[in-house]
Symmetry: C2
C-alpha cells in the first residue's frame, strides 16, 4: 500500500472521536495512591469466583459437546428459559427475548435495527456515554431531554418531540435508564414512568429501557419496569424493549446481557447478531444459566448489596462531612453512582486536573451530555470500586480542592 489506508475509511470510521472517558480511565488507572471514583467498575469482591469455577467445570463435563458447538444467535435456549423464570415471565415467547454479548451489544443491535444516518434518538441529559457512542456509530443524532430527581421530564419530552416532528425529523426511539441512572444515580418514579409511556404511545415512538443496575437496590420499593408496565397496565407489548446486563451481578468479563421486546424488534436484532458475533459465548451462557438455576442468584445479589450499601453510605457521609454548604448531591437507593452539583459557575473540567494531581479522580459532568447543551458544574462519583476508608479519604481530598 502506497496509498494512505485512511483514505479508504468509511465516513463513520473517519469521523469517530477519541473517547475522553477512556482517556480519563487510562491516566487514572494503576497510578500509585490514586483513589479513583472515575470508572464504572464493579468491585472484584462482587465476583462469585468459587461458584463459577464449579459451574464451568460442571458444564464442560456434562454438556461440553453441546456448549462448545455453534450456538443459536438468539442465545442458548436453556439460558433463555432460565432468565424468563428468574424474571418471572416464564411464558414469554422465545422470539421476544435474546441473549447479547453484554447490554451494550443489545443497545447496538436495537439501534442498528432502527436507525438510518441522521435519524434521531431522544435520551436523558445527562446519560451514559457508552450507549451514546454505540448509537452514534449508527450515525444517529442524539437529542437530550432534561431530567429532574424523578427522571426524564414529561413536559420537556413532549415539547422536544413536537418540535422535532414539526421540523420533519425522524425520531426513532426514546432511550432511558430508569433505575439508579448512570451518571446521576436517580430513579424514575412510577408516576413518571406512566407519563413517559403515555407520551411514547401518543407519538408512537418506541422506548429502549436500559436496566444494568436494577438488581442493586439497597433500600426502598422495587418499581415495575417500563417494559412490564407497558405490557400490563397499558396493554401495549410492542412499545418497550428492555436490555439488562449480568456485568454488575456476575462480572463484566463474562460479556452477558439480554434484551426483551416485541418480535418485530427481536427478530431483526437476532439477524444483526448472526452477522456480527454469530452468538454469545455458549459455555459462559450455560454456566450463568446453571448459576441461576441452582438458586445462587438471589443470595449473591444480596451479598453485593451488602457490599455496596456501606460504600454508598460512606460516600454520602464523606460528602456531608467535607463538602461546603453550596454543594448538592444525589442519594441513590442503589446502583453505583452519586452525582454532585456545584454552583452554576463552577467548572469540574478544570477541577479534574487538580484532582488527579492530588490523587483523586472522577468524571466531569460535561462528558455525559448527549448534544451540545452541556453543563460544567457537575461530576459523577462511583462508589462500587473503592472501600469505605478509601471513599472517605477520596471525598476529603476532593473537598479540600474546592
Amino acid at each position: 500500500m502506497g496509498k494512505l489506508i485512511k483514505t479508504l475509511y468509511s465516513k463513520t470510521t473517519a469521523s469517530m472521536q477519541h473517547s475522553f472517558i477512556r482517556e480519563i480511565l487510562r491516566v487514572t488507572t494503576g497510578v500509585p495512591g490514586m483513589i479513583s471514583f472515575a470508572g464504572g467498575l464493579p468491585s472484584p469482591a462482587s465476583f462469585p469466583k468459587e461458584l463459577l469455577k464449579g459451574l464451568f467445570s460442571e458444564v464442560l463435563d456434562k454438556e461440553g459437546d453441546d456448549v462448545l458447538q455453534y450456538g443459536a444467535s438468539d442465545g442458548d435456549p436453556v439460558f433463555k428459559q432460565i432468565i424468563k423464570d428468574f424474571e418471572e415471565v416464564p411464558s414469554l415467547p422465545d422470539d421476544e427475548i435474546m441473549i447479547t454479548v453484554g447490554s451494550t451489544n443489545g443497545i447496538y443491535y436495537f439501534t442498528r435495527t432502527l436507525i438510518d444516518p441522521g435519524d434521531i434518538i431522544i435520551c436523558e441529559a445527562p446519560t451514559f456515554p457508552g450507549s451514546l457512542t454505540a448509537m452514534e456509530s449508527c450515525d444517529a443524532r442524539l437529542v437530550g431531554v432534561e431530567i429532574d430527581e424523578y427522571g426524564m421530564m414529561p413536559d420537556s419530552l413532549r415539547e422536544t418531540l413536537e418540535r422535532l416532528i414539526k421540523k420533519g425529523e425522524k425520531v426513532k426511539f426514546i432511550y432511558a435508564i430508569p433505575e439508579f441512572q448512570n451518571p446521576t444515580g436517580r430513579t424514575m418514579d412510577l408516576n413518571r414512568r406512566r407519563a413517559i409511556i403515555e407520551i411514547a404511545m401518543e407519538f408512537e415512538i418506541p422506548i429502549l429501557e436500559d436496566q444494568p443496575y436494577r438488581e442493586l437496590r439497597f433500600e426502598g420499593e422495587r418499581i415495575i419496569t417500563l417494559w412490564e408496565l407497558a405490557r400490563t397496565e397499558f396493554n401495549n407489548p410492542k412499545l418497550v424493549t428492555i436490555v439488562k446486563s449480568f456485568s454488575k451481578i456476575l462480572g463484566p468479563g463474562l460479556r452477558l446481557g439480554f434484551a426483551a421486546g416485541p418480535p418485530e424488534i427481536m427478530v431483526p436484532m437476532v439477524k444483526w447478531a448472526q452477522k456480527i458475533t454469530v452468538s454469545p459465548d455458549c459455555v459462559t451462557q450455560r454456566a450463568a444459566a446453571r448459576f441461576i438455576e441452582q438458586g445462587h442468584m438471589h443470595k449473591h445479589i444480596q451479598y453485593i448489596i451488602d457490599l455496596y450499601r456501606p460504600r454508598r453510605d460512606a460516600m454520602i457521609k464523606g460528602l456531608e462531612t467535607y463538602m461546603p454548604d453550596n454543594v448538592k448531591w444525589t442519594n441513590p437507593e442503589g446502583g453505583m453512582f452519586v452525582w454532585v452539583t456545584f454552583d452554576e459557575t463552577f467548572d469540574t473540567d478544570e477541577l479534574f486536573n487538580r484532582a488527579v494531581e492530588n490523587k483523586v479522580a472522577f468524571i466531569p459532568g460535561s462528558k455525559f451530555y448527549p448534544d451540545g447543551k452541556i453543563k460544567k458544574n457537575e461530576l459523577r462519583l462511583n462508589f462500587s470500586y473503592s472501600n469505605e476508608e478509601q471513599i472517605l479519604e477520596g471525598i476529603h481530598r476532593l473537598a479540600s480542592l474546592l
Copy 2:
C-alpha cells in the same frame, strides 16, 4: 404502538434477506436417520473438554479478579502475546493484533471500518456466505472473481478491477480464503499468492485474508499466508489483514478469533469493538491462552487432523466408488469441505429436495455465489461432522439419486 414497528426499520434492516443456508440447516438438523453433509460443524470429538475444564477452573481460581472484570476491547493482553508467540511473530506490535468474538466478528469490523454503502468488495466466486452476509449488512456490493484449482484467477482479478475502476466504482478490498477454501476445499498455491499480492499492490487495494481452517492440514507443505508474504517478501506490512478462528481447533461455542493487520486498520476495528461488544469474553480468552501456553495446542491440532483425515479419505473413496464418471470433485489437503461438480446442465437445487427425502443433505453450490452469476451444477459436502461409515453410506445415497 399502533404504528407498525416495521415502518421504523433502518433501510438495511428492511432489506435483510432470509438465509437459505440457515433454512437448510433447520430442515436437516435432528431428523432421525439423516446423514447431513450440509453444515460446517466441527466434530464434537474435536473439543478438548477435559483440558478446558481444568483450565477454566485454574483461570477462575488464580486470575478470577482480573478476568471477571471489564477487559480491553483489543483483547486480553496475555492472550495476545501468547497468540503472537504461537504464530511465531512474538515481536508483532500490540496495535497490529486484536482478539475478536470469532472470525466473523473480525470480518464485520474490518468491513465496517472501510465500507460506505455501495462500495465494492471483490471476493472469490464461490465463497463463504456467512462472510458475505456480514459484508452486505454494511451495504457493500460484492463482485465475484472466478477461481480455479489454484485459487482466485489473477487475470480475472485484474480485468475485474480495471473494469470497476474505469466505471468509477470504489473498490475497498479483496476478500480471500486461501486455504482449504469454503466451499471448494481448494488451496491457493504460492505463485498464485504472489500474483494476487502483486495485483493488489498495483491497484492499491487491501486484502482481507480469512484463515479459519489453516491449522487443519492433513498433508502437503504449509504455505506462507498472504499476510506474512506481503510483510516479508514484498516488504508491505500494510496490505493484508488476516483473520483466524479458534472455532475449528478449540470449539465454536467459545467465540474466539483474532485479526492481525496494520495499525491503520486495527485501531478503528478496536473502536468498533468498543461500541458493539466492549470486548470478547475475558474468562474464555484467558482459558484459551493457558491452553496454548501450557503446550496443548500442537498436540490437539494433530489429534483433530488424525480425526478428520480418515473422514476426508472416506468421502473421496465414497465418491470414487459410487459416483458416475462425469462427476468431478476436489481432493482437499485439509479443512472440512469437498466440492462436487456435475455436468453443466445438472441442477443441485433440484437434487437437494430429493436428497433430503432420501435422508442425505448437502448445500447446493448456487448458495455460495456472491453476485447474480451463479452456477447450478455444483454442491458442497462437509466431512468433519459425520464418521467414516456415515460418510460412505451418505455418498452412496446421494449417488443413487443421480
